[in-house]
């Protein structure tokens, strides 16, 4: 059903991102209101889009007025609508949270910060909604350029980690483009739906196999899957605290969405798991990644580096969930992606607030959190419980559906991997609990200023969202089962 809603989903963040530097030169105070107003309207329009998709089915928008194989088409269906809502809401909260941090960390660079953040949100929205493989590459590049710079803007060590992220990211994007080139050489089309129809005839040609392998390799670098995650720990540890909630919670999940879209919608469930057994290989890679990421996180002294390795571990869990091959496994994986987006945004928000308030960056000096920041430590407690998987929070239901899906698929190595990685996660989070809550308070009474309202409000909303997502998990799972499951299950 063609509608102009996807057009507005692109136009809103794009126009704001371009207007901000133009307006910002006259008066710097306008940037933040424009950015937040844009993201509020983007969230409203994406929620409207999701409700329309649930009631009337997928919405499509043909750019330039040309039908799909000729022109470029955007499709909002259950999966992309859900992710678009998650992206817009989490980026809104991250920008609210980043307000005071930007004033302190990047004093002269407020205008470009808001412009690049909105360009990043527009690029992520573009990657999620597009139905054209080359269009996805263009938005992948916009999003990557914005995130390289947002990582490297704090200077010194973050510049070097941003340079490594740029080199690895460019190799990943070029491998993806090469894979699209192989598909184009075999089928002559770039549109995903058209490609899905034309693939069965050429499925056994070696060019399609290598094309899929290159796309998986390229996207694995972009999403930080275990063997290719080299850039992720340094990038998230040294990135400025105003940028990490947005970067860590959403930027690595969109390449994962692109892989799921290509593997399940373009290739179809049966071809990807039997004819070209790439899902089985990725299942094993996900299992190893989940365990290795959690194991590496135990030894980290810096709080943000520990969270970075836990992101590597949860990316392994997502890949494991999508490769289970059962409906509950797929739906559980998607639910856990949403839950993890909220969790990572909260945890990195807490890390940013701790550094902003009392310069705490290692796990041991988080104890100052308990001393003079009740709000922030409450957010830390709830999000840590959710990462470990304690019932009322969304993390528990996510892992619960993952285990049920794995048992249904009789993949016992997957069940073992999920349980072992959860235990390791519990280990390093309880170590953190012990350091923060069980240690005696340091005697010296450090003078600490009151947490600014935007940080308190955003962490509060995120924590409330975690618990609401947990309690309303059957509602969200119902939505996923109804409109976000690919054919062929």
């Amino acid at each position: 059903m063609t509608s102009s809603l996807p057009g507005f989903l692109f136009a809103i963040p794009f126009f704001a991102a371009v207007v901000i530097p133009v307006v910002g030169f006259t008066n710097q105070k306008f940037c933040r209101p424009i950015a937040l107003g844009t993201l509020v309207s983007l969230s409203i329009v994406s929620v409207m889009g999701l409700s329309e998709v649930v009631s009337h089915g997928p919405l499509s928008h043909e750019f330039g007025g040309w039908a799909p194989p000729i022109g470029i088409e955007w499709v909002v269906d259950g999966l992309s609508g859900l992710l678009m809502v998650a992206i817009s809401i989490v980026s809104l909260i991250s920008l609210v949270h980043a307000g005071p941090l930007v004033e302190k960390e990047l004093p002269g660079r407020v205008i470009p910060f808001y412009s690049l953040s909105l360009l990043l949100v527009a690029a992520l929205g573009g990657m999620v909604l597009t139905g054209d493989l080359f269009n996805l590459f263009v938005f992948l590049e916009i999003g990557s350029l914005a995130s390289y710079v947002l990582v490297g803007v704090a200077g010194g060590r973050s510049l070097h980690s941003a340079f490594c992220y740029l080199i690895l990211g460019t190799i990943g994007a070029s491998l993806y483009l090469l894979g699209v080139g192989y598909f184009y050489a075999e089928t002559g089309t770039l549109n995903m739906a058209d490609l899905a129809q034309r693939l069965p005839e050429v499925i056994d040609s070696r060019a399609v196999l290598t094309g899929l392998l290159f796309i998986v390799l390229g996207l694995a670098i972009k999403m930080g899957l275990f063997p290719l995650h080299g850039w992720l720990p340094d990038a998230y540890t040294y990135a400025p605290n105003s940028c990490t909630p947005l970067l860590a919670s959403v930027v690595t999940k969109v390449p994962l969405y692109a892989f799921v879209r290509i593997a399940f919608w373009v290739f179809g469930m049966t071809t990807v798991s039997t004819q070209i057994p790439i899902l089985v290989v990725l299942g094993w890679v996900g299992a190893v990644a989940a365990i290795a990421g959690a194991y590496l996180a135990i030894w980290q002294e810096s709080f943000k580096r520990m969270l970075a390795y836990s992101s590597v571990s949860s990316m392994g869990l997502f890949m494991l969930a999508f490769s289970l091959g059962t409906e509950t496994g797929f739906a559980g994986g998607l639910f856990y992606v949403l839950a993890d987006t909220l969790m990572k945004a909260t945890l990195f928000g807490v890390a940013g607030a701790a550094f902003y308030q009392c310069g705490a960056s290692t796990v041991t000096d988080l104890v100052r959190l308990r001393q003079n920041m009740p709000w922030v430590s409450a957010a830390l407690l709830i999000s840590a419980l959710s990462m470990v998987g304690i019932p009322p929070t969304a993390g528990f239901f996510g892992k619960w559906h993952l285990v049920v899906g794995a048992l249904e698929a009789e993949k016992y190595f997957a069940v073992a991997a999920i349980l072992v990685s959860s235990m390791l996660t519990a280990l390093y989070f309880f170590r953190m609990f012990q350091r923060v809550w069980a240690e005696p308070l340091p005697l010296v009474e450090a003078h600490v200023l009151e947490t600014p309202f935007p940080i308190k409000m955003s962490l509060g909303v995120l924590t409330f969202g975690l618990i609401a997502l947990g309690l309303g998990s059957d509602l969200v799972m119902g939505l996923i089962f109804e409109s976000a499951i690919p054919k062929g299950f």
Partner: protein
Amino acid sequence: MMLFDDYLLLTLVIVTALGAVFVRDLFSGVLTLAAYSFFLALLWAGLGAVDVAFTEAVVGAGLSTLFFLVALFLTSHQEEVRKQFKVQMMALGSLGILGFLLLFGSVDLPVVGDPESLPSKHVSSHYLKKSLEETDTPNVVTAVLADYRGFDTLGETTVIFTAGIACWMLLRRRDDSAT
């Protein structure tokens, strides 16, 4: 199709690429890279891609070399080459696998220049047949670039705009941006 000039241009391209990489002084490396871009532009003009050749000559050779030279002026010209044996072996090994994968995948690719291959039949025949009557532009590449796939071009302009904002954010002095 396999005229003499293709083989000549291809060897020139590879020789200048090797030159740009294995020369020690960065300044001459960058200038060899400019030569590499010009030979590449000639090769593409020979293959019928005149718009891409024009862009590569102007944007690829002109702008990239300008950016490289400005960067080299502000930093140092010399590169101290040091052998790091372990990394080289690891890189050669993984690139060997990647190279085998490329060759393995290339067997089923359409032969260069065969008009029956799918890319030249499926979507592009519509562009060639209909573009003059639908958009009044003889140059089909401009028609496809601006109209049929105009959204890609908007994304592309946004990429260069993002690079502009990024360079402003990374390098500008603190005082001049607080206007």
